[in-house]
C-alpha cells in the first residue's frame, strides 16, 4: 500500500465524516461524528510529522471540548422530535452559497505558488515536543502568557454565566 493511497483515503474519510456532522439529524450523532473527524485530522497530523500536535489535538479536542459538548447536550435533554427544522429554501440557498465559497477558494488556490521562506534554516524534527517547547517558551512566550489570561477570563465568564442565581445576570 503506497503512502499516496493512505493520504488520499484519510482525506476522503475526513471530508466524509465532516459531512456527516452537518447531515446527521440527531445532535448527539453530530458530536460523535465530529469526534471521528478530529481523530482523522489527528491522523493527518501524524502523516505530516506533527506528532505532538496530533496527541494534543486528541486530548484537547476529542477529550475535553467534545466531552463538554456532550455534557451540555445531555443537560439540555434534546431529542430528535424537538430538533429545529430548516426550510428547504434556506437549505438550498445555504448549499449554493457554501459551494460558491468553496469554488472561490479553489479558484484562488489552484494556481497559487507557495515559495519557501528565505534565510530560514529548515529543521527536520520540527514536530517533536522539544522544538515546540523551546519555541513556545522563547519566541512565543508573550502570546503564551496572554492566552493564560484569556483562559482565566473564559473560566470566570463561564462560571458567572452558567450560575443559576438570577440576581447576578440581571
Amino acid at each position: 500500500m503506497s503512502i499516496d493511497l493512505i493520504i488520499y483515503l484519510l482525506g476522503g474519510l475526513t471530508i466524509g465524516s465532516a459531512l456527516m456532522v452537518i447531515i446527521s439529524k440527531h445532535p448527539v450523532r453530530s458530536v460523535l461524528y465530529l469526534i471521528l473527524t478530529f481523530f482523522l485530522i489527528s491522523a493527518n497530523y501524524i502523516m505530516l510529522n506533527a506528532q505532538f500536535v496530533a496527541i494534543v489535538n486528541i486530548i484537547v479536542y476529542a477529550g475535553a471540548i467534545m466531552v463538554l459538548f456532550l455534557f451540555v447536550l445531555m443537560l439540555l435533554n434534546l431529542s430528535k422530535e424537538n430538533e429545529p427544522k430548516t426550510s428547504l429554501l434556506v437549505k438550498v440557498s445555504a448549499l449554493i452559497s457554501g459551494s460558491l465559497l468553496l469554488l472561490v477558494l479553489l479558484a484562488v488556490f489552484k494556481d497559487a505558488s507557495f515559495l519557501s521562506i528565505e534565510n530560514e534554516v529548515s529543521n527536520p524534527n520540527h514536530g517533536l515536543v522539544q522544538n515546540l517547547g523551546k519555541l513556545l517558551f522563547t519566541k512565543y512566550v508573550l502570546p503564551f502568557e496572554v492566552s493564560s489570561i484569556l483562559f482565566i477570563a473564559a473560566m470566570v465568564g463561564a462560571v458567572l454565566l452558567a450560575k443559576r442565581d438570577k440576581n447576578i445576570i440581571e
Binding site: I3, I7, T14, I15, A18, V21, I22, P27, S30, L34, T37, I41, N44, Y45, L48, N49, V53, V56, N57, V60, Y61, A64, L68, F69, V72, L75, L76, L78, N82, P84, T86, S93, A94, S97, G98, S99, L101, L102, L105, L106, K110, A112, F114, E120, S122, N123, P124, H126, L135, K139, Y140, S147, L150, A153, A154, M155, G157, L161, A162, I169
Partner: protein
C-alpha cells in the same frame, strides 16, 4: 532522527490546501443550514480545525515549527470560545427553553 515527509513521497501542498478549503466550506454550510445552536458551535470548531490543518501542513512543508505553535493558540481560543458559548447557551435555554437560533430574537422587538 530524520523522518521523511509526505511531501517527499509526491503529495503536493495543494492537496492539503484543497482539503482545508473543503473542510472549511463544510463548516460554513453547516452554520448556514443548521438551527441547533450547539451544532452551530460544532461547525465553528470544524472551521477552526480546517485552519489548524492548513497551519500544520505548511509547517511540515517548510519544516518550521512556528505554524504548530500557532495551532496551540488556536486550540486555546477554541476551548475558551466553546466554554463561554456553551454557558451562554445553557443560560438561554434556561430562559426560553429552546436552542433554536431562529427563536433567539428577543432583542428585535
Amino acid at each position: 532522527m530524520i523522518l521523511s515527509t509526505v511531501f517527499e513521497a509526491g503529495i503536493s501542498i495543494q492537496y492539503y490546501v484543497i482539503l482545508s478549503a473543503i473542510l472549511f466550506s463544510i463548516g460554513v454550510i453547516g452554520v448556514l443550514i443548521r438551527k441547533n445552536a450547539i451544532v452551530l458551535l460544532m461547525c465553528i470548531e470544524l472551521m477552526l480545525n480546517a485552519a489548524n490543518l492548513l497551519l500544520v501542513a505548511f509547517s511540515s512543508y517548510f519544516e518550521q515549527s512556528d505554524g504548530q505553535v500557532f495551532v496551540f493558540f488556536i486550540m486555546v481560543v477554541a476551548a475558551a470560545e466553546a466554554t463561554v458559548g456553551l454557558s451562554i447557551l445553557i443560560m438561554a435555554y434556561r430562559n426560553i427553553r429552546t436552542v433554536d437560533v431562529s427563536l433567539f430574537n428577543q432583542l428585535k422587538d
